[in-house]
Amino acid sequence: MLVLMLGLPGAIALLLFHYIPLLGNVIAFQDYQPYLGFSESDWVGLTNFSFLWDGNPEFLNALWNTLILTVIQTVLVFPVPLVLALLLNSLAGERLKRLLQSILYLPHFLSWVIVVALFQQMLGNAGMLNTFLVQHDLPIVHIIGVPELFKGLITSQAIWKDAGWGTIIFLAAISRIDQEQYEAAAVDGANAWQRLINITLPALKGLFILLLILRLGSSLSVGFEQIILQQGPVGLQASEVLDTWVYNNGIIGGNWGVSAAVGLVKGLVGVLLVVGANKLAHAFGERGVYEK
């Protein structure tokens, strides 16, 4: 009984703030009016989903930006922690390794507000880099607030913030590789590079695929807070992604139904991507996220 009593608050919180909103997605099929509420608003069928076929330019722009960022972030951001972990691991001193690790974890604990502010103070027009350039009579480089560079900026911020933190899981996996394999390979004449390619990387393959699949599930959610914070000076053309479109259209613009429909489609695509990628992983003989 005590067990139930202590456990119920958490379960109720999940029901109220996770499952009721999940059901609340019905407003994607409604002409939702806040003053009428869920029950009184008119049902409009699939009208809200018309963005899927009528070629709304704003939606297409947001979709395009999201897809580009997804590709960039999967190709560039995702492998960085692995490389960093391999580098750290090849470092000899245990104490030095731990010190470097703790330093690299630091940015993960910062709020996006701080990260964005730090980037402005380092790279902004009045930031450290440009002050240095001005003092040495060199031309200023505009980095912050330039639409063409926005995606690169977003990507480098994402790497800066979470690459160090991402090494944890890889370092844990590396530390569990059987050391005798390395010894046997070395005795057989494999050099350090060959040991990396033939022992370490294959041992990490399963984990890498698992993380990649999980990432696919949230791949359409690219840096929401990060982008919302920097949208102003850059403009919507370069910076609008699906999440910010939902926010700007729904909460700010009051198009509740359409925004909920976009959110719903986005969520479904995420789940489908996870299931599909998992099937693919099984087809190649990997474990994936869950067993067949």
């Binding site: 202590l6 919180a13 580098l87 630091l106 709020s111 502010a117 009045a126 939902v246 986005k266």
Partner: protein, 281 residues
């Protein structure tokens, strides 16, 4: 020649001693200096990219106005002397001080409530044969997989009349399903015989939980607590969504206004200076 040789051998024996050579197992070849150098440079760059911004914000925050002006009005790498006046300005009352207090309050209250709710739920689900444990576990797993989306979450918070209340920053994120699963796994790893023998000795359910399970789980409680605390402290987007009155803004929103948008709230000036990094951490 002989001296040289003997010195190399001597060096080798020193290296093979337990102190230094424990790093490199005997089968591993001597590292190639070039690759070592490349690795070293790469790591130094990575660490510098993290440390330099931190350091320069810290240095600027304690530098006096003269040094800042001399550096061209930007950031300072080396403060000549220590001047805490910007901290005094920021913490001497006003918008930032209030926001810091709100953020601390949310982080403390939220972390405690979250830990209690998470541990309670995880303990329930970890007990073999507990009532309803199976369906509730499915509920938790489902919450990890499916996220409800922004608009319905907002509307639910609105329906519960939590808009513009500080509780809107705590209750919707009270339980993180992933943390429940982590904690449940930890509870399940605890030796069950301990519970059985305690029960045979007449310990009540409460005694087992509070005198055996929780003391043994300090590690996982600390880790999960840290995750919650960081999330509450950094809460930015929920505050942007749910909190309208500026006098209830937590730190992240105030920082956005001052530092990112470079404007002020209600005419309260913070001397245009860099906010001390301690506030952000």
């Amino acid at each position: 020649m002989t001296t040289l040789e003997s010195s190399t051998i001597g060096d080798d024996t020193v290296r093979r001693g337990p102190g230094r050579d424990s790093k490199r197992p005997p089968w591993m070849e001597k590292p190639n200096p070039l690759t070592q150098a490349v690795k070293f440079v790469a790591l130094v760059i990575a660490v510098a990219l993290v440390v330099v911004p931190f350091w320069s914000v810290l240095a600027t925050s304690i530098a006096d106005q003269q040094t800042i002006n001399a550096s061209g009005g930007g950031m300072v790498m080396w403060p000549n002397g220590v001047d805490f006046s910007s901290y005094a300005a920021v913490l001497g009352g006003g918008v930032v001080t209030r926001a810091v207090l709100i953020s601390i309050g949310i982080a403390v209250v939220g972390t405690l409530l979250s830990l209690a709710a998470t541990a309670g739920l995880a303990y329930w689900l970890s007990r073999p044969g507990a009532l309803l444990a199976k369906p509730v576990l499915m509920l938790v797993l489902g919450a990890v997989l499916f996220s409800p989306g922004l608009i319905p979450s907002y509307l639910v918070v609105k329906e519960f009349n939590l808009l513009d209340s500080l509780w809107s920053l705590i209750l919707p994120v009270l339980v993180n399903a992933f943390n429940v699963i982590v904690m449940r796994a930890f509870f399940q790893e605890l030796p069950q015989e301990l519970f059985e023998s305690a029960a045979i000795d007449g310990a009540s359910e409460a005694t087992i939980l509070f005198r055996i399970v929780l003391p043994l789980s300090k590690a996982v409680l600390a880790v999960v607590g840290l995750f919650y605390a960081v999330a509450y402290w950094n809460a930015f987007f929920n505050a942007l969504l749910y909190i309208q009155s500026t006098d209830k803004w937590p730190m992240a929103l105030v920082l956005r206004t001052y530092v990112v948008n470079q404007t002020t709230i209600g005419g309260d000036q913070v001397s245009g200076e860099v906010l001390p990094p301690q506030l952000s951490l």
